[in-house]
C-alpha cells in the first residue's frame, strides 16, 4: 500500500517547529512531499514489525472461521496430495 492510494483518513501530530522545519527541508531535498517523506518509512517499519511479531490477532469474524475450520478439518485437496507425494528437493 503506498501513500498515494485513496486518502480517506487523517492523522495529525504535535511536534516542535525545529522538527517540522528539518523534516520539510529534508523532504524538499528528496523531491517528496512532507506526507510521503514521513509516512513511507513508517509504513515499511510497520510492515516489518508485523512480519516480526509472533502473534496474529484475529478479528471476531476470523475467529469464527478459525473455529469452524478446526472443528471440521478439511480433507487434503488433490493438489496438496500431489505436492506431498512428489519428489523431494535434494538436501545437503
Amino acid at each position: 500500500m503506498s501513500a498515494s492510494t485513496l486518502k480517506n483518513s487523517r492523522m495529525e501530530f504535535k511536534t516542535t517547529q525545529e522538527v517540522k522545519a528539518l523534516l520539510t527541508s529534508a523532504a524538499g531535498l528528496t523531491g517528496l512531499d512532507l506526507t510521503s517523506f514521513v509516512l513511507e518509512p513508517a509504513l515499511a517499519r510497520a510492515q516489518q514489525v508485523i512480519a516480526d511479531s509472533s502473534r496474529l490477532q484475529l478479528t471476531m469474524a476470523q475467529q469464527k472461521q478459525f473455529c469452524a475450520l478446526l472443528a471440521t478439518p478439511p480433507a487434503p485437496s488433490p493438489a496438496l496430495r500431489a505436492l506431498l507425494q512428489s519428489e523431494r528437493l535434494v538436501t545437503r
Binding site: R55, L58, F66, C67, L69, L70, A75, P76, L89, T91
Partner: protein
C-alpha cells in the same frame, strides 16, 4: 539444472544473495538486507532454508523461513466451547520466494512442499495446530489450491492470512 536445499547459515556468504529478486519487495529485501534474514537467523528468531544452483557456483536461487507463532483470538476459548486456547500455537511460513531468473520450474512448489513436511515433522515433537502464512494477493490462489484456508476479513490490497491444518497435511503425506 541441479539444485540443493540447505539450512541457511548466517556465517556463510551466498553467491547473489544480495541481488535476490523474486519480484515481491518485502521478500527481496528480507533476503538482501543484513538486518533481516541474516540477523534474524543469527538471533534464533527464525530458521531459513535456501535453494542453491549447484551448477552455478551454488547461487542463491530461493529461500523460505519458518518461525514459532501464535494465532490469537480473544474469544477462541468461548467460541470453541473450550476446545481451543485463545493463543493457538502454530508454525509461520514468513517468507517464500524464488528468483525471477528461475521462475516457471516449479521451484516455489518444492519449497512449499519442504516447508509443509518440516511443519508435520515439528508437530511430532511439540504441540502445534498447523502452518500459518500471510499470502500476497497474487499468491492466494496458489495456497488455496494446496488446502490453505483463508481467514478473511482483510481489505483488498492487504496480505491474506491463510492456515493449513496439521490434520489436513498429515492425511496428504
Amino acid at each position: 539444472m541441479s539444485f540443493v536445499l540447505e539450512t541457511y547459515d548466517p556465517g556463510k556468504s551466498y553467491t547473489n544473495q544480495k541481488k535476490f529478486k523474486c519480484g515481491i519487495g518485502a521478500i527481496d529485501r528480507y533476503a538482501r538486507d543484513k538486518d533481516k534474514l541474516h540477523d534474524r537467523v543469527a538471533r534464533n528468531l527464525v530458521k531459513a532454508f535456501v535453494l542453491l544452483d549447484t551448477q552455478h557456483d551454488d547461487q542463491f536461487v530461493g529461500y523460505y523461513t519458518l518461525q514459532a507463532h501464535t494465532v490469537f483470538g480473544s474469544h477462541l476459548v468461548q467460541l470453541s466451547n473450550g476446545f481451543l486456547p485463545n493463543d493457538v500455537p502454530c508454525v509461520k511460513l514468513n517468507m517464500l520466494g524464488v528468483d525471477q531468473t528461475y521462475k516457471g520450474q516449479g521451484l516455489g512448489r518444492l519449497l512449499l512442499r519442504d516447508a509443509i513436511e518440516r511443519m508435520v515433522f515439528n508437530a511430532q515433537t511439540l504441540g502445534i495446530f498447523g502452518l500459518y502464512l500471510d499470502a500476497d494477493p497474487g499468491a492466494v490462489a496458489f495456497y488455496d489450491r494446496h488446502s490453505f484456508v483463508r481467514l478473511t476479513d482483510a481489505q483488498a490490497d492487504q496480505p491474506t492470512p491463510m492456515f493449513l491444518l496439521i490434520e489436513t497435511a498429515r492425511q496428504a503425506l
